[in-house]
Subunit: 146 residues, 2 copies
Amino acid sequence: MNDDERLYLDNQICFPLYVVSRLTIRVYTPLLEELGITYPQYLVLLALWQKDEQLVGELSKVLYLDYNTLTPLLKRLEEKQFINRSRSKSDERSVYISLTDTGKALKNQAACIPDKIIESLDKGDMNMDEIVAFQQTLLKIMKTIG
Amino acid sequence: MNDDERLYLDNQICFPLYVVSRLTIRVYTPLLEELGITYPQYLVLLALWQKDEQLVGELSKVLYLDYNTLTPLLKRLEEKQFINRSRSKSDERSVYISLTDTGKALKNQAACIPDKIIESLDKGDMNMDEIVAFQQTLLKIMKTIG
DNA sequence: TACTTTTACATCGCAAACGATTTAATCGTA
DNA sequence: TACGATTAAATCGTTTGCGATGTAAAAGTA
């Protein structure tokens, strides 16, 4: 590959990564719309369904999102009555995020989403080995640069 | 995997995809800052360095970005004197995007970026086979849902 | 105890993304 | 030629993402 070809769009890894990430979110969006949430909001709820009562800082680490992104996002989830935000009493700097009953109940509605997503992606000729290898590589990169 | 585990963050493919995409952009950002551009602006320039004189609609297809994202982004690149925008005379609806001399010159400064990125990612134990397989899968998904 | 430093979170501003709608030019077709 | 449909691009409003900065509480330290 010469210097010119190295700058071709298709020869970047970052570019298809960026596109596929956005396209995947577009697959989720109509399903999440029925639940009244956005994709990043869904990720926060996934984290909370897995482990309720987390500090903003814990969510920040798990989701690789900074406070300046999380704080307004969490306020929106609070407005929609899916979560509660409350200052810790032992450390007034900390804020605990916990699910409301509505937020907990939403989990049942979300349970069908993974299947629907797999259906959408299943049209391509991806086999299970390829999917697993792909996910492994993603996790490896996450650990390398995360 | 039971219903509960299916909703774990780590068992989603979308999640590491979303994180890795953002983390990768963070690796590019300081390098692009030296050129005075953002990551999506860099992608537009990559497309133009590969083929100058493209319609907004062509860029839209190549980059998988809609007009509502591209139009303001292109205006910013125009303000920075990297591109020109001009209405087609044969079809007054169309807008041609072309590189200025400054925009063309920027390509030389950008030539070193791919190497620097590979350096940054090279810390992980990724071999060439894995990288190629990863990229192949990305392109396959792009074609499936794109 | 008085001080500096660190930590946890919030605020501000800008640049994407993108759904929904609008505008103006061109095309199809009767 | 008239006129409805299509097309290319732009505009508007909301939500992210993130760098830079601010703020208040807690921890460290002299």
